[in-house]
């Protein structure tokens, strides 16, 4: 039917020998051991199936294809049976056919007809427990690593006829399938077009998960703040879908990408929707206060101790100065030193196995903290500030954002060290300007949205 030189030919049904197409494919797959061509024969009826053993579900294959072949009377019956299978897909040609086979499709040849049936073996199909964004109430299961299960979850949760699923084939080596999901009624066309253009323009050799896909879709090379949210929660996905955003899911990765996003989206936890108004308002305020503390506190310490101690009331200024008594270097070195130790602590406790990480935190947090003050390397107040900063940096629900904020802190610290109190204020304004100047697929990243106070309503 389709040979190597590209000529279309019908191939005759010869007994015992596989059709030419199958031979060709077999050649193209380099006679890999897991490529199987099995002839099925019963009296005068015969058929061939070709598949990759490693990716096809054997039991399912046995049940829905091989068994009926021996039960049905004639080839006509069998071929119409195959055509009515729910998993049948459109016949592909050339490269595409190869890719489909690699992904777990089975090629069936009945007389001179070819069919392609999807009998994928799903290994990671079960939804996982939500780990990254846990909530007390709300659904506890997160996305799985298989795209079929994920789409099933989303469809079940968001049963709107206007939900569109658009599949895109990546052109890299993994040939992962990627899916765009959006609500046709709500989505903004300009954003959708921008996103499609971006995906088409991508030329990377290896895309492994939605994490690096997100980076590739990002427009600037050196960017600090994420312009897309990675989420594992199906309820966040449906919530965003209903607000007109686009979801990108990739096979083999348990996180979906939400685009476009604005700054405020990063501060929303799904928990907010499951609590009463005042409680969620309180937690939201708490998060913003935490964000400000996390960015401003270290720089403020430098400004207050080294530049303008007279800003504080006298008692407080004296106790800060008294606490710094005997610290042998300027305050910015002290801050930098403690912050770096804290970052080491965070980094190591992420990488270590759970059993040991508790020890690391104890040693780092308790012992180092006390010892450092007793050795007069830092002031007591600095220890309080560092712990406050460490705690508040985890208040931000999306960890991507929390990393960006952590880096921002150092920039602000540097600016304050150079220019003092003016630097603190101006640096903060500079961060705000940087954020407002950013955009996510043409949507301004940070702006106040008057029309609805619900944060994720925008776009």
């Amino acid at each position: 039917m389709f040979s190597r030189n590209g000529v279309f030919r019908l191939c005759a049904n010869e007994k015992q020998t596989a059709p030419e197409l199958m031979e060709n494919i077999f050649e193209k797959l380099n006679r890999s051991e897991d490529v199987l061509t099995i002839p099925l024969q019963l009296e005068n009826n015969n058929a061939f199936i070709l598949y990759l053993k490693t990716v096809v579900d054997g039991v399912k294959l046995q049940n829905i294809i091989i068994k009926p072949f021996f039960e049905l009377k004639s080839m006509e019956f069998f071929s119409s049976y195959i055509q009515s299978l729910p998993d049948i897909v459109k016949m592909k040609t050339g490269e595409e056919l190869l890719i489909q086979l690699m992904k777990g499709h089975v090629l069936i040849a009945i007389q001179d007809k070819f069919f392609l049936v999807d009998i994928k073996m799903i290994t990671a199909g079960s939804p996982q427990q939500a780990v990254l964004e846990p909530t007390i109430y709300g659904p506890q299961l997160a996305l799985s690593e298989s795209i079929e299960t994920n789409m099933n979850m989303i469809r079940n949760r968001y049963a709107e006829p206007s939900l569109i699923i658009e599949s895109v084939q990546l052109t890299d080596k993994t040939h992962q399938s990627m899916v765009l999901l959006y609500d046709k009624k709500k989505v903004k066309q300009s954003v959708l077009d921008a996103l499609r253009l971006k995906i088409e323009g991508m030329d990377n050799t290896l895309v492994e998960s939605s994490g690096d896909l997100q980076l590739l879709l990002n427009s600037t090379k050196f960017s600090l703040f994420p312009t897309m949210i990675l989420t594992e929660r199906p309820d966040r996905i449906t919530y965003n879908l209903s607000n007109g955003k686009i979801i990108i899911m990739m096979d083999g990765s348990p996180q979906a990408i939400v685009a476009p996003v604005i700054f405020f989206d990063f501060m929303v936890s799904m928990e907010d929707n499951y609590h009463s108004y005042w409680i969620s308002l309180f937690t939201l305020t708490l998060r913003y206060v935490g964000l400000l503390t996390c960015i401003l506190l270290p720089a403020m310490y430098v400004a207050v101790t080294s530049y303008t101690p007279d800003i504080l009331r006298v008692e407080l200024a004296l106790s800060v100065a008294g606490s710094r008594l005997g610290v042998p270097y300027p305050s910015f070195i002290e801050v930098l030193f403690m912050l770096l130790f804290m970052e080491f602590l965070i980094e190591s406790s992420i990488r270590l196995p759970k059993a040991i990480s508790a020890t690391a935190t104890t040693v780092g947090g308790l012992i180092l903290g006390t010892a450092a003050t007793e050795a007069a390397l830092t002031s007591n107040i600095m220890i309080i500030i560092v712990s406050a900063v460490a705690i508040t940096s985890f208040v931000i629900p999306i960890s991507e954002m929390s990393f960006a904020i952590r880096i921002c802190r150092y920039l602000l610290l540097a600016f304050t060290t150079l220019f003092g109190t003016v630097g603190l204020m101006l640096g903060f304004l500079g961060i705000i300007m940087y954020l407002t100047n950013k955009d996510s697929f043409g949507e301004p990243f940070l702006k106040i949205n008057w029309k609805s106070m619900k944060r994720e309503k925008e776009v």
Partner: protein, 360 residues
Amino acid sequence: MYYLIFVTMVTNIIATVPRILVIESKKGVIFSMIAALLIGVVLTYFVIQLFNKFSGQSFPNILKKYSPRWFYVPVILYFAISWFIAGIITLFTYVFLFTTFVSIETSLVITTLAFVIIVSFGMLMKSESVLHTVEIVFLLLLPVILFLFVKIMTDENLNWGFVQVAMMNINTTPSYMSFSAASYLFIGVVNIVIFNSFFKDKLKFGFKQVTIIGTVGAVVLFITYFVPIGFNGFEQIEHLNFPWVSTSDSVRMKFGVIERVIFIFVIIFLGISFLSLLIHWHVSLKLLESIFHFKKLKWKKKNLTSYFFVILFCGISLFLVTRIDEFELFKYASIFYNILPLFYFILFLSLFVAKRRAKL
């Protein structure tokens, strides 16, 4: 749109305006303030009405379309330079104020440099982002400003007797200087020359909006002038260089972490004057970009014209800050305010010309 007007209004509290007003306090300030208020609102109304006719177009675009080159190049250049000077006055006033009251040790150049670095980034942003920044920062600062005003107004040291004394001077004839300084409060609307391209729909500017701007303007003017007098006395206030900051220093917060209100005041007004500077210089830069485009200034396919202007701006301000002192600044600022009516005149003239040519 309101933000642009309000930011300029509030910035003036720390700028030279209150000083000019109190110096002129015996020469009919009150009358000229009322006059400035009325005229300011009327001018604001007309500017917005005129720009409504060209909604979605910026001033340079309008002029380029409807007027000859010999006309629009000088006009835009004049506007750009005025706006640059307006920005530099705000910058210098703040820098002087900051070194005087908060950190005496820091040199003027360092403080200016801190401003200039951040503002240069701000100038190069998209105009839309400038608007968003102004909105966010202003909204963040607004509660604190209101708190400060309430705190200062309700302070027991505020002697309303002095205010009454000042009020008594209502029947003297107004002076031109105080009038022009007071009307500077309403100059914010002129920023529409660039930002008009973002107002695609016609701006509603009816009775309600006039009342809002009028009331806010009146309140701000009232606070600007009378509160320092109430604290410092009608006779002595002329000797203060920064009447408002000294005023805020008279107020204490008993239970605050920061006891002296002056520091909150100075820090908040840092934000406000930064916004004012950002708006002014951004508009100025856009105006300059619209008439100059150096084709030779290229590096890696990027035209560097705007970078050139930014560096020019920064260079001028860093150079001037060492050469000028507070009294000279005051002198030049008052000259600048005095020629403002000319500015309005040219703006109206050019818009009328454009309107006639466009036959709208």
